[in-house]
Subunit: 197 residues, 2 copies
């Protein structure tokens, strides 16, 4: 028996991801077709599916990387000072998801995940987001800028729910004519986090 070094395999995978990212850049997420990816990568169709469970698996990696980048930026900016700042901090994420329903559907499939497989970038980034939110809320609570009658975890999960709700409305009802998702989010956050009294 032999142990398999996977150098060639890693190259193929990288090439697939690179090509897919380029296509997404040109045509958007919903314009990505498996046939195009394998054609431009110069590999057979089956190869793609030996690297990724399905088309969504490929998309998940791309989207996960993008979300990771967004989270990095959020983290750099530190804890928001109040609820309004919290909304502003979440805006880039909302804008990103709002650009294409495919992103929303995929993220929704992972939201609520509490444990991630090593390669599940999306699940991992979701957990990271909830953790970050929880941390922020703790700070806000300590500063008296958020209600203290609930644990920060519950508040964070609630916010997650509002994010999904606002985006759902965005993709269904209004779209262009309506306010931006971030604008729609704000009243929920204000009401949800408002210190009682």
């Amino acid at each position: 028996m032999t142990r398999a070094p996977q150098k060639r395999r890693l190259e193929t995978r990288a090439k697939l991801l690179h090509v897919a990212a380029a296509i997404v850049q040109e045509q958007g997420y919903s314009g990505l077709r498996v046939e195009d990816v394998v054609a431009r990568a110069g590999v057979a169709k089956g190869t793609l599916f030996s690297h990724f469970k399905d088309k969504d698996g490929l998309l998940a990696v791309l989207i996960g990387e993008e979300v990771t980048r967004l989270l990095d930026r959020m983290e750099d900016e530190g804890t928001p000072a109040d609820v309004a700042a919290l909304t502003a901090r979440l805006a880039p994420h909302l804008d990103y998801v709002a650009q294409d329903r495919v992103i929303f559907d995929l993220l929704l499939r992972y939201s609520g995940t509490t444990a991630a497989e090593p390669d599940e970038v999306v699940a991992a980034s979701f957990i990271r987001q909830v953790t970050m939110l929880t941390g922020w809320l703790q700070t806000l609570q300590a500063a008296g800028k958020a209600r203290q009658d609930q644990p920060p975890e519950l508040l964070a999960e609630g916010i997650q729910g509002f994010l999904n709700h606002v985006l759902g409305v965005w993709f269904c009802a209004g779209h262009a004519n309506d306010a931006s998702p971030a604008q729609a989010l704000d009243p929920y956050l204000q009401a949800w986090l408002q210190p009682p009294g």
Copy 2:
């Protein structure tokens, strides 16, 4: 030019819906295949797509009818007396949606809709649900059982968000081992509706 009486057409449509409902009964929503429907209805494939925009359009009618039935029952029971009763009132709906991801995905696509086409049963029932919720919340507010610092519409939409959140978690993370969606919903409602102070 002639006006077309659509008797035959209505019969075909009814037959398709009847057959589809039977298949759903036997195989569940996710087991429904267009081929089976048209085969058992004794019509050609194209016919189905002249009656419904796509497979989801057919499912939407079936699901919409079921949701309508659930809403009828909810309405009969009158306004819940407090938040705990509200959770209980929403439980049947949660249980129904929790039974199959197809339902959740489809309802999510319509949640947030503010106006319905005449034949869009799902959208109509969604609006009805929000309206009913808003009414209930008004009563709860008047009785001092819910916070009065926010308009009932906002509270109702917030609840909608929590419903989606809880169901999303249900389909992703726990499923069988976890608590029921209704159980998971309760803390959110308690926190969201709690009168400040």
